[in-house]
Each structure stands twice: as C-alpha cells, then as structure tokens.
Amino acid sequence: MTDVVVPETSKTDWTSDQEPRWCPGCGDYSILTAIQLMMPEMGLRREDTVFISGIGCAARFPYYMNTYGMHSIHGRSPAIATGLALARPDLNIFVVGGDGDMLSIGGNHLIHVLRRNVNLTILLFNNQIYGLTKGQYSPTSEIGKVTKSTPLGSLDEPFNPVSLALGAEASFVARTHDMDRQHMQEMIRQAHDHDGSALVEVFQNCNVFNDGAFGAITKKAHRAEMLIDLQAGQPVRFGPDLNKGVVLDPSGCATIVDVTPENEASVIVHDPSHPDPSLSFALSRLSSGPYEPTPVGVFRSVRRPDYAGEVSRQLANAQDTKGPGDLGKLLNSRPTWTV
C-alpha cells in the first residue's frame, strides 16, 4: 500500500519457508504451483493478499503462500473470510477448502457467502473423498462408494458443486482440474477479476484414498472426448472433431447429440453472463460424475453489487447524512435531566 507501482515479484516471493506436507503425488501440489506461478502476473501485493482455509488437506494451503493467511476451523472459512472482507474491502482474499470442508460441515456458510456475493475467490478442491481423516466418503462421492465408513457402499446422493453454487445465487461459477495448469490459471484469474463471490471447483486427485477418480475425463488421451470446454459466445461443442454438441431436448434438458448439418443451428451458444442461470444450470446437469462428458470452464459470470462494497456504502451514506459519530451526542440522545 506504500508505493503506487506494484513491485515485480517471482514465484519464490510468493512461496513461504514452510515445506508442503501433502502426500507425494497429491493433486494439491499442481494447484499450489499453478497459483504461485500466476501470482506475479496478477498485479497483486503479497501484503494485500490473504488466504483463508478451513480444515482438511486442501486447507493447509495458506501455510505455503508467502502472504497473510489463516488456517481456521473445519467448514468455517467462508464465514471468517466474510468478516475479513467486510472489515477490509481493500484486501484480495482467497478461500481454499475441500469438498468435505466446504460442502459438508461448511455447506451452510458456502451457500450464504455465494448469495451475499462477498468479494472472495473461493477455490473448492474436489477429490470426492475425505483425505485427512483417511478415506471416508464425502458429499461428492458417487453412490455406492465403498470406504472405511461405508463397507457396503455409500447410500447418499452426491452434490454437484456447480449446480449447488448456481442454486445458491452465485454470480461466478467455474470448473477446472488439476491436470491442466493453463486452464486452472485462467479460471482462477477470471474468478479473481470478478467482483463478488467467485467459486472455482477444481477436480483434484487424491492419489492415496481415491486415486484416478477423475482419470476417465482428465487424462490427456480422454480430454477431447470427455471434457466439454465452455467458451463464452461459442456453441457448446466437443469431441476430437467437435463432432458432438449440446442441445436442449423438447423437455428443456441439455442433451449431447452428434452434430449434423440439420441440427447444427440448434446447438446451445454458451452465455455465462445471461441474467437467468437456467441454461448454465442445464449445462451443469450434463454430467453426474467424472465418468461421462463433463463441462469445464466458466458456467456463470454476472455482475451483482459486491456485499462489502454495499456495506461500506451504507456507512458512508450514514456519515454523509448524520455526520461523523459524536459520542457526547449519542449519550445525550435520550431524554435527560440534570441534578
């Protein structure tokens, strides 16, 4: 905040002196590297940047960034970050957590932070498993998941985090995965540039307790067939020769079709800035798990007033209309008498 020009930094400047303690081969490493590499290009100051996390493997993230940071309580990071964002609208605040942290114990805070549109960049590392507690099923695990706590298979319908966020009135929702650094960086950059809450779901491999959960869609050889790359203003098409496309069927559901000259015009053109999230929601329903073609990219990006900005505006208005607070006046604001 002292000088006008943000000093140039390198990845090293953004790397703390603490050695990461994730398992070798964990997807978290590639996300950490992607972020440490992109930070110098974002035009941010380290001292104005804060990483807030809850509990879980992903939540160790702040310790490895040479910024301000808080490793807080399981599930509560969106709430803590909300208070910090309201108190300090000048900061760049990132919230990092896993699927258990943000969708299970912290599900309530996540939906409320999204609807309020607090200016936070929320990175949801989804590995569909509890890692730190050694392998129980999570709220994104597929039905029938056999884990230590579900020896006969899990019975719970999983959350689709993108659908959940869209339903919670999120103004920015994107999805990416840990095998594509460039795409990750692009999604995180757009999320950070967005005014208000921005949720990025990152498919992240837990190579110890749920190895290969996303392999069917994120392995290089499968990507063209299995990842639907959403691009604003472009028809939603994928496949090696873009031979597949997404159309709305007569009942209004998004459906994958082979693109033909006859149906080409009916392929959906993606518009993340559309005020109505219905089409984005329909796209999020294309896949119910990482075993069928799954959209990645920005699902939704609309402008809504940032919550902290609105809170500050009310304060400024109050000072304009009532004048700055005067304690003596306040104490005498009720009927008084003198002895």
């Binding site: 905040m1 603490q18 380290r46 104005d48 490793h71 805070h109 104490l331 003198t338």
Partner: protein, 631 residues
C-alpha cells in the same frame, strides 16, 4: 397534607412505591411501564425496572400464559432493585389478576379494568366466579374501573375506529396511575405526539385515553388518597434512563472510539441479546459495521475474521449461541486475537426460558471449550454499568490480544435505571498499536517478523494486520511454535505454549481493580460474595440486615477470570461467606476450589432476579447458622 389538584383527595408523601402493571401480551403493558419509568426518571426519582414477558409474541388472548408484566420501583432515595412486593397492581384482565395478585403486599392496592371481567375472560383465567364479587380480594384495596368503556367513550368523536380506541386503554391506565402518584403528564403526552406523529388518529386516541385516566382519578371520588414520591437526592450530573442492552451497545460504540479502530459486530438474532444488534446497526456513522450472519457460528467467525483485519470485533448472543461458538472462541484463544463475546444469559439448558433471566453460563464461560483455553471473563452488575463493562472487556481484549467473554443477563438487558452520563473526555484511551516492523532476525541475519514473539510484560503477541508490508505471516489452529508461530507438534513446545497462554490470562489480575467491597468491611460477621446482576438485590438486602444491627460486608466481582488479586484475602477476612447466585452454585465452586474457603452457596433459578427480602433472609439464616439452600 399539602395542596392538591382535587380538594377531596388527601396527598401522602412516600419514600418509594412499587407498581406492577400486568395485562395480556397485546395490552401494551411493557410500553405502559416504560412510559411510567421515563416520566419518573425525568421527574428526578431514582428507579429500577423489571419487565417480564412471555417468549411467545402473542400467546392465546386472555390466558395465564399470555400475561405480560412490568414492575418498577420509584424512590426519593438511592435504590438498587425493582422492589419485592408491589404496593399497587394494575390488572388489565382476569388472567393478569390471577397470575400476579400473590405478589402484592398485604393490604395493597389493586386497580382492575372492570370491563374485561366478563364470563369468557374469567373462564380463560380459570375463575369460576368473578374475584371482584366473591370477597376473595377483601384483604386488598380494590378499585374497579371501566377502562375500556371510558376509553371508547372519549375516543368516539375523534374518528377512531372502536377497535383502535380499545387499544388505547393502556394509556387510560397510565393516566390513572400517573395521577395517583403525581407523575408529570407532559413527558408522556409529548412522547405520544412524537411517537405517533405519522398516525394522528392513534396519537389523538392515546392522548384522550391518558387524559381520561388522569381525570378519572381526580374526579371519580373513588380514590381518597394520592401519593407523592419526591425527587431523589442523586449525585449531581446529567442523567438518562437506560436499559442494559442499550448501555452495552453504547459502551461498544465508545470502545471503538476509544480504541481508534472500527467496531465490527457479527451476530445472529437471539433473545435477549438481539437488541444490541438492533442498536448498533443504527450507528453506522460511527463506522460500526453490523453483520447479521446465517448462524451463531458464522457470527463469531465473521467477527474473528474482522479481528484479524484489525477491527474491534464483537459477537453478541445468549447461552445457546455461546455453546455453538465454542470452537471459534477456542481458535481465537489459539490465534491470540482480540474478540469480544457477549453473552446475555437466560434460563437454560437448551431453549430454557428465553425471556427470563438466569446467570448460569459462568462455568461455560470459564471452561466451555475443548483443550486448555483460558480467557478473561468480565461481568456487568447493573443496567447502566453495562456501558463501563463493555469498555473494560474491550480494553482487556485489545491489550492482551485475547477473546473476552462479557456476561450480562436478561434482567440487566431489559431493566432500566437512571445513569449519570460520563464525561466523554474522562473515558480511558484503550488503543493499542498494530505491528508495523519486523521484530527479529533469522539465522542468516535477515530481518524477520515473528508473530508469536511476546511482549515481556503482558505476554501479548504482536497484532500485525493484512496490508502491512513485510509482516506477512500465517496463523492457524494447529499448535504453533513459540516465537515463529510455525506448526509444531513438539511435546515441550505444547507445554510451553499452554503455560504461556495460561500465564498471559492469569497476569491480567495485576491490571484490574481490587475487589469491590461495601458494608461493614472491617468487622463483618458475614461476607456476601456476588457477581453480575445480583449486585442490586445484595445491596438492598444487606442494607436491611445492617439496619437491624447485623454486621455484613458485600464483595462483588466484576472480573471472574482472573479473579482480582486480593480476592483470597477478602474471602479469608470474614468468619462466614455466602454466595447468592442465579444458578446452582457456580461461583461458589470456583472460589472454593481456588481459595479453599468454605463459601456457602445460595441458589435461585426461577427466571427472576433475587428480591432484597430473599437476600436479607439468606444473610440472617447464615448468621444464625442456617446457611445455604435454595431461595
């Protein structure tokens, strides 16, 4: 006898009077009591009030469950309680009479709204026969006043609908009682005009009803005596009549000004704490940010986030909320950040008695977290003193970088008393500096910032807020290495950090006032030890005992953790110690454990504060050998 408005009426001087207004939840009894209090305050009386209302917004009309009452004592001298047995009961319906009459002093005055004593209401209250006619009230002075009829009559020509007119009957009652006790009318009539300026019909009806009630007293020849309570000889100053929650809110606003940092309140609505959220949300021009969170956990979480960002962070709640906030308060202990947790206690466990008072969260405040998580506890002792308590709690939180629990209760929250306004310039400076520079060198001789390098005197760690260049650091709930704050699972380090956190809180004993004492300090046969809102009842009960020649002293704790440094000496100075509490003996257990003193517990958990009489009896019993027990 002095001159009076009505020549037929005798005027008697009283030192004090206790009035209890009671009616259905929809009858406006809280408003009536509040107005009577304010008129008395502006007249110059000392006073204390006790609003009592059900948790339901509108319990079934006319039932015992729906009775709402407001008791107050006004006096020509210094008083500390809303009084024991009322001298006058105003009962707006049969249920109110049935529920409240047992409180009245023998021979006391009952004023009833006669119109409401019809079959339906009598049966709802469980009366087979009207108590107005069956001589069951012969021991009292009963005045039957057709309040509804007269109110409707005087509103007839005002263009007010009959239903709206009927709703003004509480102002009739207020007018009548104001006449009976020579309360000035201007205060109330002015208030009606201001309050209902946008509803001229309502203002007109209320004004007419008040005047009719006043005139009724003067002309109906029912009342042969009226009473005067002269202004009290209070210390000089400018006074206002204030309730605990407003005083506490203003204390928080003041604390922000005195600390020179913005106030942030994260809160979730809960009785009886919500009024603090309401009040603070009005003071945005002081830079106060209020945030109504999605739940109690988010409320305290947001406050902790704001504390990390450099605000004076506050969360307000009641017992159930404190239970939910426990994990975050533990994190605040570990992060060593300033945080005010304000608990307006109510009856528990669980939902308990949401609108009734109790002081049973002391042990939760002390120990209600996992692990060794000591924190300072401050307790307010009167409605007006909540202002000072809030500033004191903030001072400790900021100076020692620690969460502080401030305990108030439902009685203090809603009760009012005259408050001599402090001189703003005399309030303490409680500001603390943020860290701005590195505070050490690493192995290579490079300057570094150690977030857990402590102040040698206070043991507080530096408060380095985001935005400060060169001081980037990470904090978290995992145990931290001494000085560096890095994650550490080292056995010796955990012992050291636990010891340091404990020592930091214990050391605050040297930075708080000595135990507050009163009464026969030098030669008492008995010490009454209290904390929190029992102060008023103990003061009044002890006064009664001393007037009879008993030698009694009173020690009152404003700080529950750590205890004042001299508390052990105070306790051991007297042959006997009793500890009256609105719980099952929590403070008595703490002092017995800490000082090996035979402090006898006196307990009451009835949703109501102690009366002075109950404390008096406890004192006399203790002095005659019958210590302890339930009141």
């Amino acid at each position: 006898m002095t001159d009076t408005a009505s020549a037929k009426t005798e005027v008697r001087q009283l030192d004090s009077v206790i009035v209890r207004f009671a009616g259905d939840s929809g009858d406006g009894m809280q408003l009536t009591g509040d107005r009577f209090s304010n008129a008395s305050a502006l007249f110059g009386n000392d006073l204390a009030t006790l609003p009592e209302f059900p948790a339901e917004i509108r319990a079934p009309q006319g039932t015992l469950a729906g009775v709402s009452a407001f008791q107050l004592q006004v006096a020509s001298h210094d008083i500390t309680t809303p009084g024991d047995a009322p001298n006058v009961l105003v009962a707006m319906n049969p249920a109110a009479l049935k529920k409240e009459v047992h409180r009245l002093e023998p021979g006391g005055t009952i004023i009833v709204n006669e119109d409401s004593f019809e079959e339906r209401n009598l049966s709802k209250a469980g009366y087979a026969e009207s108590p107005l006619d069956d001589h069951s009230l012969d021991a009292y002075q009963l005045f039957r006043v057709p309040m509804t009829t007269i109110t409707k009559e005087v509103c007839k020509d005002l263009g007010v609908k009959p239903r709206d007119a009927e709703r003004s009957k509480n102002f009739f009652a207020l007018g009548l009682v104001s006449w009976l006790y020579h309360r000035p009318s201007d205060t109330t009539l002015d208030w009606i005009q201001t309050k209902f300026s946008r509803l001229p019909n309502v203002a007109a009806a209320n004004t007419a009803a008040y005047k009719a009630g006043h005139a009724f007293g003067e002309t109906a020849e029912l009342f042969h005596v009226s009473y005067e309570v002269r202004p009290a000889q209070l210390p000089p100053g400018t006074y206002t009549n204030i309730d605990g929650n407003t005083a506490l809110s203003w204390g928080l606003v003041a604390a922000g000004q005195l600390a020179k940092v913005p106030v942030f309140l994260g809160s979730y609505p809960i009785t009886p704490a919500s009024d603090i959220l309401h009040e603070l949300s009005k003071h945005k021009n002081f830079g106060v940010r209020t945030f109504q969170a999605e739940d109690e956990i988010a409320a305290v979480g947001s406050a902790l986030g704001a504390a990390y960002g450099g605000n004076l962070a506050v969360t307000t709640t009641s017992g159930p909320g404190v239970a939910l906030k426990g994990e975050t308060i533990g994190l605040a202990v570990s992060l060593e950040l300033p945080l005010l947790v304000i608990d307006i206690q109510r009856g528990g466990p669980s939902t308990g008695l949401p609108t009734k008072t109790e002081a049973s969260d002391l042990m939760m405040a002390m120990y209600g977290r996992h692990g060794e998580a000591p924190l300072p506890i401050v307790a307010a002792y009167s409605a007006a003193q909540c202002f000072e308590a809030a500033i004191e709690a903030a001072r400790i939180a900021l100076k020692y970088r620690t969460p502080v629990i401030l305990l108030s209760d439902g009685y203090l929250a809603n009760g009012t008393e005259p408050w001599v306004l402090p001189d703003v310039d005399s309030l303490p400076d409680i500001s603390v500096p943020f860290a701005t520079d590195t505070n050490g060198v690493d192995d290579d001789g490079e300057p570094v910032f150690y977030p857990y390098l402590r102040d040698p005197v206070t043991l507080a760690r530096p408060w380095a807020i985001p935005g400060t260049s060169g001081l980037m650091h990470r904090v978290g709930g995992i145990e931290k290495e001494d000085v560096t704050g890095n994650i550490s699972y080292d056995p010796g380090n955990h012992q050291l950090m636990t010891d340091l956190r404990q020592a930091k809180i214990a050391g605050i004993a040297d930075d708080i006032p000595a135990t507050m004492t009163a009464g026969d300090i030098d030669d008492a046969d008995l010490l009454v030890l209290g904390w929190g809102s029992t102060w008023g009842s103990i003061t009044a009960g002890m006064k009664r005992a001393r007037a009879e020649g008993h030698k009694v002293a009173h020690a009152h704790l404003t700080h529950l953790n750590p205890f004042p440094a001299d508390l052990g000496d105070v306790l051991l100075r007297y042959p006997k110690v009793i500890v009256p509490e609105m719980n099952m003996g929590q403070l008595s257990k703490l002092v017995r454990a800490e000082y090996l003193v035979d402090a006898a517990s006196v307990t009451k958990v009835m949703g109501q504060p102690y009366t002075a009489g109950e404390i008096y009896t406890a004192i006399v019993d203790a002095l005659t050998g019958e210590e302890g027990g339930n009141r």
